[in-house]
Point group: C2
Chain length 333, copies 2
């Protein structure tokens, strides 16, 4: 293999990303400069936030430029190193882009220990996904033992970990997921106390049954009707972290927001948005905790690894927006 | 006068309260029991929250029962006292209801000093209205000197004080109000740095001009389009206190919420609901501060006192929901 296959953004999608919104190009393999490593990616991480990165709207990072390689996390092995901290063969992860090869500053990639867990897991529960669950739950929601924590997209990458950490903290963990199979797995495989199927058409009643005293904390990944319904399930002084609003991401115009805003006032709720990179200085803390729980067998981590190569990027990414994945979604390069 | 005229809730309003939703009754003047005072009300306070108290939905207080005297703040003079802390003629305020006479426990009424300010002012800026502004701004929003604080319903009871306290804290205070006359008064009489007319049809552009660097803190009294627009004006890590959502209160069904929810996530905004009674233990602190600023001439307080007696309660209350008042709305009994 002597070329570098890359996914480039060809135009800004309207609604769900389409294959025609991207071009697949084959270019030269980059030469690492002093202080850089050349990484040969094995897996790219497909994350809900990617849809936002494609849009030219105000966000926490600039949008991907038209013609540029699509931004994203990836993991692979060092093929050449011009940084003293890395040697050929090291397994690494980082924001390496949707491409086969990436040259990146050593400071921008993380070496991972594949004797602890295989590489894909370092792109999921032991990587950015796990950190997002860790800081969103423990730092923003700050649940106390005995409280009820609800998380949407509970069988998804972040949600599946949120509930497990909540359990570790002594909380009651209630998931929201789509369909009976996912809900069953959230309880039997991930150990949540309960999981409610939002597709069953009786979300409010089922949530009331699963949380008879209401929810103290809610980890929001989806938005839309689910958020609206949850606003009425929150106990007084309940906390909500807005980590994702995936139900909105494929909409051409932002959809109408929750009707039950008044509950924020009457129940004195606190909603807070989060972007995990704000906790960069504390990533070592989250890594230590997540790896610790994982090695103790207290964290079940799942990846949903798809094939088809970089050419399959758009349609595989869309599994996230249509509920088609189960656990951390990765594409094998 | 030997009877007690009272406003009673006859049925739960749909939309704006109508006169037919209430009955005006004349009953006996109550006898104060041991530990109570009999208050002859001079003014009743008309507050946006009243619409919520009429509705049978989950809130921070139980709804007013059908047939019961309408809940609300009022102020008057002690006519008879069976509490050692009060004597005949004392000026007092409290949740005394929409009625001419009320018997209330001494612990539930506050004696006020009419040598500092006339009685109506103790139902406004030196009373619950001022406290709401004080704790919502200083405790929830916690503005720092140099920050930009925006407040909606800026010529209203709470909003007009929020901006003035923000100025006292060294902040830039920007109001949102309806119509050029209100906006002009907010700047020239209340001393705000700027005021934007939401009725002018270019709210986003006018807010951008008034807050070229965006808003650090937003005190929300109205909801609806104004909140939606403000979400896009918030600086990263901006704070929003949800004190009122008056644009929703007259709606028969809760209206759709803000479309720009994604800004909560991308800008890591914090929204928090507030109900001022949560700060009950600290009311002496707010009273001392508000009276202090008022005596120093740093707080311009305005009441909008209407006549017509208790019979005029429904139509006068509705001025709040249609933007017809200017400052703290009171009804002379």
């Amino acid at each position: 293999m002597s070329t570098n296959r890359q996914v480039r953004l060809a135009r800004r999608p309207a609604g769900l990303p389409q294959p025609s919104d991207f071009t697949i190009t084959d270019g030269p393999i980059p030469e690492p400069r002093e202080g850089e490593v050349l990484v040969h990616n094995s897996f790219v991480s497909l994350d809900p936030a990617m849809r936002g990165w494609m849009a030219d709207t105000r966000s926490y990072v600039p949008p991907v430029a038209i013609g540029a390689v699509m931004r994203g996390y990836a993991g692979g092995h060092v093929e050449a190193s011009r940084h003293p901290g890395f040697k050929e063969g090291d397994a690494v992860v980082g924001v390496l882009g949707m491409q086969q090869f990436a040259a990146a500053k050593g400071e921008h990639v993380d070496k991972v220990d594949t004797s602890i867990a295989p590489l894909p897991r370092w792109l999921g529960g032991l990587g950015m996904t796990g950190r997002t669950a860790y800081f969103g739950l423990l730092d923003v929601l700050q649940p106390k033992a005995g409280e009820t924590v609800v998380v949407s997209a509970a069988s998804g990458a972040v949600g599946s970990i949120v509930g497990q950490i909540a359990r570790i903290q002594g909380c009651r963990a209630v998931g929201i997921a789509g369909g009976p199979a996912k809900c069953k797995a959230v309880v039997s495989e991930l150990g949540f106390d309960a999981c409610v199927d939002y597709k069953a058409g009786r979300l409010a009643d089922d949530l009331k049954a699963a949380c008879p005293d209401g929810a103290d904390a809610y980890f929001e990944n989806v938005g839309g009707e689910v958020l609206d319904t949850m606003l009425l399930q929150m106990r007084p002084f309940g906390r909500i972290v807005v980590c994702g609003l995936i139900s909105n991401y494929a909409a051409i115009e932002p959809p109408a927001g929750p009707r039950n805003m008044r509950a924020i006032l009457t129940q004195r709720l606190k909603l807070q948005g989060m972007v995990v990179s704000d906790w960069k200085e504390r990533f070592p803390e989250s890594r230590e905790a997540l790896v610790g729980w994982y090695r103790e067998g207290r964290l079940v981590l799942r990846e949903d690894i798809r094939g088809g190569g970089l050419e399959a990027f758009p349609q595989t990414l869309n599994l996230l927006y249509t509920g088609g994945n189960n656990g951390k979604l990765l594409l094998e390069v």
